[in-house]
Every structure is written in C-alpha cells, then in structure tokens.
C-alpha cells in the first residue's frame, strides 16, 4: 500500500500542496481537511476586488472543483482537525471522525488578532480573513456609512481605499506613529499617508482604539486621543495569530509559528508545516522568519510536496508581496528590517518610485510603487547579493534596464 498524505487547512498552502503532490507524481491517497466551507481560494482579493463587489465568489477559487475530483482528493469541507497524536500519526476531526497519516501537512494559516480593547465583541466589529468575514460585513459596507478601520497595515489601508471608492467615510486609527509601521520606511509610509489623506481618508496615527461602546446599535469607538467616533462598521486589522495550537498540544516545537527546517519538516516525524503558520530558517537573511504572503504559502507547499515525493529541495526564496490601493500597485521584495540607508528612485509626487533599503551597502529590500521593472530587478539583485551602487540606484535618468548588473 502506498503512503497517504493528510493536509490540514485548505488555504493557499493547502490547495497548492494538493497540486504539487500530484504534479510531483505522488499517487497515494490525499485527504484535505479544512474548517472553511470553501475549496481553497485566493485571499488577497478579499480586501480588494471582492470587497469592492467587482469579483464574483466563484472567481476566488484557486482551482475548480473538477480539479480535486480529477486528482482523487478526499476533500472534507467545514471540518476542523481537533486533535493530533503525533506518535500514533492519527487525527481527530470535529465530526467525530479519525484519520491516520504517513505524511501530514499542517497548512492551518492564522486568525485575526482580536482587538484588545473592551467592547470589541460589539456586533459592528468585524475582521477580514475569510469570504465569510467579507460577506458578514457587507450589509454595513454601504455608501455613506462611517467605517472605522483599526490598524493601518496593508489590509487596513486596502479596505480604506475600497471604502473611499464606495462612498463610505473611512476613519483609520493606527497606534504607531506611522502607517505600515512594521514593514515600511518613514518615507514610504509618509507617501501612503498623503495618498490616503488626499483621497479623503481621516487617518489618525499615534492613536489606538481604547474601547468600543454601544449607542443604539451603533458602535462608538473611543480613541486614546479621547475622541469618540460613531461607526456603522469597525474593521480591525491588527495582525494575525498563527494557528499553532493543534501542533503545540501534540508537543511539536512552536515559536512564533510551527518551527520547521529548510524542507518544511516540523519536529515530529512525517509532519510538515507550510504557509502563514510556519516558521522557517532563511538562508538569505540568516534568521528565522514567519511570513504572511501568498508567495511563501505557495512555495512552502511546493517544498513539502517535493520532500514527500522524494525530491527534496530546500526552501530558499526572496520573500515578496503586493498590495493594491487606489490606482497604486505596490510590490515589495525582500525584508527591510535592520536597514541603514534608503535610496528613493523616481518621483513620489508622480506616484511612481522605488525605495531601496540597504544595510552596509547590501540591498535588503525594495518597495516599488508602479515600478514593476525595478521590483523585478531588485528581487534578482537581492537574491544575487549584488546590486548597483546607491548613486546608480537613485539616478532615475538611467533606465532601469541599464541598471542590470
């Protein structure tokens, strides 16, 4: 009998694992157990085209249902894995079922961090992670409504942009002194602040929500600045908690995610962890990382599948991410943490520029706004650990093409 694989979680990573296992020649049984009611789908449009109502739900699916039938996958929708015995290699399911595995891929992703203030359970308070989340907030996401967005990360800012387009009145509260504080430089953050304010967003930095109160069914957001903002809808985007509890309870090493090696193997034999829930060693940055991006989810799924198929190839990638706000396409590659120099190429006022982050002259990361060529080049430079000089990077009169090293 050939080995079987159980995949826990059907997001980007779980869905990709199915495809990569079959593409890699795995011919044993595959079971995909996922708590959501949907086949694996794209999350990025949830805060973009799907929220805007421009994309029907069917178009969110990563692959049509015929694909899973063709691949002979036993898909269990709406079922949670509630228990794991890593010694016996067995799983307990929320419907009372049991499964055993030879290989298991944990692709459990994460859940929104709850808003840490009193009153956060008010019915007007919503989070944005799943199709169901968007559908639940939609009745309140209507023209004229006042929406308070707590947290100015990518998701919060994308929601603000869609809200403006839809005729809502968005107020954004960000605890940090600037938007995108965890990821961007003050220069780039300042750019996005100007764009959002210019578009009509009431953006308040250095301000958190200290309580949510109720006034006749509406939420009143009390800010740390002392303001009280009446809101039809509150959307909290204050980070993600990786879903590690299942692994943790089974004694699998976890430390800001499920700890894996370069082949996405967790500390228990036969167990892999991929995507938002996993914490992997990065050769490029010389430290452990837990990333929340589509690219990471897809590539780690491919890595685990390759290992199961007996063709191990270490996960070694330049992280990248994109974000769409208004007519701006932000593409970021690499990780800027620890940079000591920022070089801006292009023109922020023209909304077309790239910010390069360097440390001791080494290129760490790029934030490219409407500059795909620079993004593509920089991704390669970061990988090669070889980049043009800061002077050349900053000289927009040299064509991007000519910068190739």
């Amino acid at each position: 009998m050939s080995a079987n694989v159980v995949i826990v979680g059907g997001g980007h990573a779980g869905g990709q694992a199915v495809a990569s296992l079959r593409q890699g020649g795995f011919d044993g049984d595959i079971t995909l157990v996922t708590a959501e009611q949907s086949l694996p789908y794209q999350r990025p449009p949830l805060s973009k085209a799907y929220l805007a109502g421009e994309l029907p739900r069917e178009r969110l699916l990563m692959r049509p249902s015929a694909f899973y039938e063709g691949a002979g996958v036993d898909v269990r929708l709406g079922i949670e894995v509630t228990g794991l015995d890593a010694g016996r290699r067995s799983l307990t399911l929320s419907d009372g079922g049991q499964l055993t595995y030879d290989h298991m891929i944990l692709a459990t992703g994460g859940r929104p961090r709850p808003l840490p203030c009193p009153g956060a359970d008010h019915p007007a308070v919503h989070y944005l992670r799943t199709i169901a989340d968007v559908d639940a907030m939609r009745p309140r996401f209507v023209p004229g409504a006042c929406i308070v967005i707590v947290g100015a990360g990518y998701i919060g800012l994308e929601v603000a942009a869609v809200a403006i387009k839809h005729g809502l009145r968005p107020v954004v509260l960000e605890m940090a002194p600037m938007v995108l504080a965890r990821v961007a430089s003050p220069e780039v953050a300042g750019f996005f602040e100007n764009v959002h304010r210019g578009a009509g967003v009431d953006l308040r930095t250095g301000v958190a929500a200290s309580a949510i109160e109720d006034r006749d069914g509406k939420a009143v957001v009390v800010s740390t600045a002392g303001d009280r903002i009446e809101a039809d809808l509150v959307v909290a985007g204050v980070g993600l908690l990786p879903n590690v509890e299942l692994a943790q309870a089974a004694g699998i090493d976890c430390d800001n995610g499920i700890v894996v090696d370069a082949f996405c193997r967790a500390s228990a034999s036969g167990v892999y962890a991929v995507g938002d829930c996993s914490n992997h060693p990065s050769r490029l940055y010389g430290r452990r990382l837990r990333l929340e991006s589509v690219h990471n989810a897809l590539e780690q799924a491919k890595t685990a599948a390759a290992d199961i198929c007996g063709k191990p190839l270490a996960y070694d990638q330049v992280p990248w991410f994109w974000s769409d706000q208004y007519e701006l396409k932000l593409q970021t590659a690499g990780l800027s943490q620890g940079y000591d120099q920022v070089v801006i190429r292009g023109n922020m006022a023209m909304r077309s520029f790239a910010a390069f982050y360097l440390k001791d002259g080494r290129l760490l990361a790029v934030d490219a706004v409407n500059r795909p060529a620079e993004f593509t080049l920089a991704k390669r430079w970061i990988w090669d650990r070889k980049a043009p000089s800061p002077q050349q990077l900053g000289d927009d009169s040299i064509e991007a093409k000519a910068l190739a090293v």
Binding site: Q23, P45, V294, L298, W322, K329, P372, A373, T376, K401
Partner: protein, 106 residues
C-alpha cells in the same frame, strides 16, 4: 469553449478547452498546464504567467496594457512574443491559439 494549445519548453503539447470570458492564465491553471503558475491570481504582480504567443492569432489578442508592459520589461527570457496570460481574456476569436511557456517557470 475555445481550443488553446500550450507547448512547454521541452515540446510537450497539451490542448485545453478554455472557457470564454476567463483569463488565459485561469484556463491554464484550471487545466493543470505546467509552466503557468499565476501566483498572484491575475493581479499583474508576479509574472509567473509569462508566456509566448506567436502566429497570426497573436494579432487578435487584446493590446498590452501599461501595467503588463512594464511588468514584462525585466522578466527573464522576455521576447517580442511575451505576454502575461492573466491579462488575456479567452474568446472565440482565439480558437486554435498556440501558447508557449518558458523554461524558467518549470
């Protein structure tokens, strides 16, 4: 449905019946065509749907937009025939289209 043939860099051919109105990238992904990944889901952000389209039908494709053009500019292996499959909508006009996929996406 429109018949489209994908040819991998190693010459392997695969014909699919693509649904009209969908993107060429979706048709490839839905039919498990190797070499078209579509990581960003068609947001014109990843170029993992890069492909080559030549021949008389190439003239019937939708024009290259600004986002697609600049995304393709520095992609590995770019040629005059390069397109991003996510930016092409399948229609009856494209019956018999031949799409080559680059080696770098395998």
């Amino acid at each position: 449905m429109t018949k489209i043939t994908f040819i991998e860099f190693n010459g392997t051919e695969r014909s699919v019946d693509a649904e009209n109105g969908q993107s060429l990238m979706r048709s490839a992904v839905d039919n498990l065509v190797p070499g078209i990944d579509g990581d960003c889901g068609g947001a014109c952000a990843c170029a993992t749907c890069h492909c080559y389209i030549e021949g008389p039908l190439a003239g019937k494709l939708p024009e290259i937009g600004e986002a697609e053009r600049s995304m393709l500019e520095m992609v590995e292996g770019v040629t005059a025939a390069s397109r991003l499959a996510c930016q092409i909508t399948v229609s009856g006009d494209l019956e018999g289209l031949v799409v080559r996929t680059p080696q770098s996406q395998h």
